[in-house]
Amino acid sequence: MLQSQGNEVLVTVADDLVTADKNSLSSLTAPPLASSQSVPLPFPMSHGTTTLAFMFQGGVLAAADTRSSCSGLVACPAAQKILPIHSHLVSTTSGTSADCALWKRILARELRLYQLRHGRRLSTGGAAKLLSHMLHPFKGTKLCVAATLCGWDGGEKQSFSGPRLFYVCSDGTRLQGSLFSVGSGSPYAYSILDQGVEWKLTVDEAISIAREAVYRATHRDAYSGNFVDIYHISSKGWTRRSREDLKEEYYREKEKRTKEKRDVAGLDSVCAEK
C-alpha cells in the first residue's frame, strides 16, 4: 500500500529503531521496579505515564501528564504526550517517547497523503486501522507504542459524524471505546473517571474531571507528574488549554485540608472546654 520510496525509508528506519532502542536514552519502558525482590508486582510497571481520553456530548477530551522518565530519572519534566495529527485528530502517546514521536509523524504524513488523494479526511477508525497495520511488522520487536486516537469524524462526504476514540498499541491491539487511560498511572485515573464520567457532562465539568484524574495519578505514581495538558476535540477541531502546574494544585489542596483539620480541632477543643 505504501509507495516504494516510503518502503525504503521504513526499512532503514526499522533497522535504526532496533539498534538504537538499546541505547535509547529517552526510553520510557523502565524495567519493572519492585519495592523488594521477593514481592512480585501486582501488574508489570511500564509505560511510565498517565494519559487518558474519554468521549462525552461535547466531543472528546484528552489529558496527559508531562513527565518523561527513564528508569528513575526524570528525563524531561515538560514533555508533550498529546500530539495533534491534524485539525480534528489528536493522539495521546505512551510507551517509548522516541517511537511515539516517529510514528505520530508517519501517521500524520499518511493521513495527509490520503486526504490529498481522495479529497476527504480519513475517519478515526480508518486512521487507527492504518496505524495498527503499519505497526504490525514490528510486532515482537522492542517497539513500544500505546496511543489513543481521539478524533471527530464529520464533513460532507462522511457517513458518520461525531466523536470517536480508539486505542492502538504495538502489540496489535486496536480497540474502540468511550473511555481509555494508558500508562503506569492509569489505575489511579480510572477510578476517578469511573466515578465521574457521563455522557451529559458539560465541557467545563469534563475538563475538571480529567484534570483531577491526572492529578491523582501523578500524586501516587512516581513516573507521572509535573504538568497536565488538556486537549478538547469538537466538531470545530482541537483546542488546547494552557498547561497547568500540578504543584500548585497540590499546595492548594494541602492548604484546604490543613484548614479543615484546624477547624475540626477547633470545634473539638471548644466542645471539650464546655
Partner: protein, 293 residues
C-alpha cells in the same frame, strides 16, 4: 493446643528444649533456639520469659534444628512446597483514619491464578476488641500469622494486665516475620487500631505508620478515589460510603478483586462490623444513576 497438633510439635525435638516459665503459659510455639546467643537472655520484668523472637517451627522441624544458627541467616530457605501459582496480592484492602476513628474495608475474593478460589473470604479479622487487621498476600500465611499474633497479644495481656499498644503489636509482628524474610512467606497486613493509628506491616520487613493505606492489586484504583475525597472532617456515614466506593471502583477494574465488601469501623468503644454487601447491586445502581443502563 490445636496449632501444636497441626505443626506436629509433640513429636519434634523442640519439645525437649522447652523452658517453661510457668506451667500455665505454654511456650510450645516459642523457639528456644538461641539465635546464636550464648544462653537465653531473661528479663526479670517479663516473668522469666526468654527475650527471643518467637519462631514457630516449620514443616520440616528436624532439619530446621539440625542447621546451625549461622547458616540459617545465609539466605538458605528451608525446603518449601513450590507455589502452584504466582502470588500477586490479588485483593483490595484499605484503611484510613478520620475524626470518627478508623475505617477498614476489603473485598472478599480469594483468587488462585485465574480461578476465584473463594468468593466469600474474610480479609478483615479482629485481633482483640479494639484492633482489627486487614490481610493481603498469601491467604494461608495471613491466616496463620493472624492467629499467632492474636495469641501473642493475648499472652501479653495476661502477663502484663494491659493491652499492648498498636505500635508494639506492629513491632512484634514485624520481628516475628523477620526470620522469614527472603522465603516465600507473603504477608501484608494493615493493623487498624482504636487510637486512630494505622500501621502497615509486611513480610519484607516494612513497618509504616500512616493515615491511609491501601494494599493489593486493586489498591491503585482505591487510592484514586480515597485521595480525592478523604479528609479528616468526614462524618461516619461519609467515611463508610467513601470506603465502600473505593472498594467498589477497585473491584470494577481489577480482575482479582470482587464479590462483596466488608467494612469495619473502629472507635474508642471497639470495632463494629457492617453487614457484608454484594457489589453487584452497587454496580447496577451506579450504571442506572449514570444513565448507562
Amino acid at each position: 493446643m490445636a496449632l501444636e497438633d497441626i505443626c506436629n510439635l509433640r513429636n519434634s525435638c523442640l519439645h525437649q528444649n522447652w523452658l517453661p516459665a510457668s506451667p500455665a503459659t505454654s511456650f510450645l510455639m516459642t523457639d528456644c533456639y538461641n539465635l546464636g546467643l550464648k544462653g537465653p537472655k531473661k528479663s526479670q520484668r517479663n516473668n522469666e520469659v526468654p527475650l527471643q523472637f518467637f519462631i514457630p517451627p516449620l514443616l520440616n522441624s528436624t532439619s530446621f534444628l539440625n542447621r546451625s544458627p549461622s547458616s540459617y541467616f545465609q539466605g538458605n530457605p528451608p525446603v518449601t512446597v513450590r507455589r502452584p501459582f504466582p502470588l500477586s496480592h490479588g485483593t483490595t484492602t484499605l484503611g484510613f483514619v478520620f475524626q470518627g476513628g478508623v475505617i477498614a474495608a476489603a473485598d472478599t475474593r480469594a483468587s488462585a491464578g485465574g480461578l476465584v478460589a473463594c468468593p466469600e473470604v474474610e480479609k478483615i479479622n479482629p485481633i482483640h476488641s479494639h484492633l482489627v487487621v486487614t490481610s493481603s498476600g498469601s491467604g494461608a500465611d495471613c491466616m496463620l500469622w493472624e492467629r499467632i499474633l492474636t495469641r501473642e497479644i493475648r499472652l501479653y495481656q495476661l502477663r502484663h494486665k494491659r493491652c499492648l499498644s498498636i505500635s508494639g503489636t506492629a513491632k512484634l509482628l514485624s520481628f516475628m516475620l523477620h526470620p522469614f524474610k527472603g522465603t516465600d512467606v507473603c504477608v501484608a497486613l494493615t493493623l487498624c487500631g482504636w487510637d486512630k493509628e494505622l500501621i502497615y506491616v509486611c513480610s519484607d520487613g516494612a513497618r509504616l505508620q500512616g493515615n491511609i493505606f491501601s494494599v493489593g492489586s486493586g489498591s491503585p484504583y482505591a487510592y484514586g478515589v480515597l485521595d480525592r475525597e478523604l479528609s479528616w472532617s468526614l462524618s461516619n456515614e461519609e467515611a463508610i460510603s467513601l470506603a465502600r466506593e473505593a472498594v467498589f471502583r477497585a473491584t470494577h477494574r481489577d480482575a482479582y478483586s470482587g464479590n462483596n465488601v466488608d467494612l469495619f469501623h473502629i472507635t474508642a468503644q471497639g470495632w463494629h462490623q457492617r453487614k457484608r454487601e454484594n457489589l453487584k447491586e452497587e454496580y447496577y445502581r451506579d450504571m442506572k444513576k449514570r444513565g448507562l443502563f
